[in-house]
């Protein structure tokens, strides 16, 4: 079975202590492992100003998680936990594996097409130049 990938972002109240945020993260990790998923990466973006007021707050503590799972049920459970947590004011889960797959496919197509055409001005860094360039731009955008 293909492994699905989800982007899970949640926002905590800005005044929550770091320990509580870690507790939430730990709960989510625990839940994920229980359901057979794994958390590939956790990224704390820290306090950010939000574009609009949420629960009458202007700032929030953003946390990003990369969740990998074979099935989708784990997402429901994770979201349930987030809903229940008092510190969390907003959350969003997005399934991204299809998009990343398409991104990879496009990149491969482009590189193959570029390699087929004889590039006379580009030296041996030709395979290297498009790859980090497109990767960087793909990641940057």
């Amino acid at each position: 079975m293909e492994e699905r990938q989800y982007d899970l972002i949640f926002i905590c109240r800005p005044d929550t202590p770091e320990a509580d945020i870690d507790k939430v993260i730990a709960t989510l990790e625990h839940t994920a492992t229980e359901k057979g998923a794994r958390i590939e990466k956790t990224d704390k973006w820290g306090r950010k100003r939000m574009a609009y007021r949420v629960n009458r707050l202007r700032e929030g503590f953003y946390v990003y998680m990369d969740v990998r799972s074979a099935n989708g049920e784990v997402v429901k459970e994770l979201e349930r936990r987030l809903k229940v947590a008092d510190a969390v004011i907003k959350y969003m889960t997005i399934r991204v594996d299809e998009e990343l797959k398409r991104q990879e496919k496009l990149k491969r197509h482009r590189e193959r097409r570029a390699a087929r055409r004889p590039r006379k001005t580009v030296p041996a860094s030709a395979p290297a130049a498009p790859a980090p360039g497109s990767e960087q731009s793909a990641a940057a955008l």
């Binding site: 982007d7 972002i9 926002i11 950010k48 939000m50 574009a51 609009y52 949420v54 929030g60 990003y64 907003k90 969003m92 997005i94 998009e99 990343l100 398409r102 991104q103 990879e104 496009l106 990149k107 482009r110 498009p130 360039g133 497109s134 731009s137 793909a138 990641a139 940057a140 955008l141």
Partner: protein, 120 residues
């Protein structure tokens, strides 16, 4: 029958170019974005169609395959002050990237990285 004094409408017949008997008298066919044309017919529009300089799609130039909704700074250049998404003809984005852009902007709005609507 040399009846040429009155019966002129039968003569030439409606030319198939404009297709519409009351349409503009400019070059026939659909109205492409060509900028101000010497009006052969009545100028219907109130504002002028400025010639837009050829804009290329920023994403196509950078060969982007995925527009990340998390990059609010990039996305911000594609929304108006009020928070509305800018049309393609303003930004020069290609159709494919404009679709992806819309998706990314909506996602970012949902997660409060971009505003839905901002008062001027």
């Amino acid at each position: 029958m040399a009846d040429e004094h009155a019966v002129q409408q039968h003569h030439a017949g409606p030319p198939s170019s404009s297709g519409h008997p009351a349409g503009p008298g400019g070059p026939g066919g659909p109205r492409p974005q060509g900028g101000p044309r010497p009006p052969g017919g009545p100028m219907k529009r109130g504002k002028r169609n400025f010639v837009r300089k050829k804009k290329v799609c920023r994403f196509c130039v950078d060969k982007v395959d995925y527009i990340d909704y998390k990059k609010a700074d990039v996305l911000m250049s594609f929304i108006q002050e009020r928070g509305k998404i800018l049309p393609r003809r303003m930004t020069g984005t290609c159709a494919r990237h404009q679709r992806w852009l819309g998706v990314a902007i909506k996602r970012a709005q949902n997660i409060a990285l971009l505003p839905f609507a901002a008062e001027l």
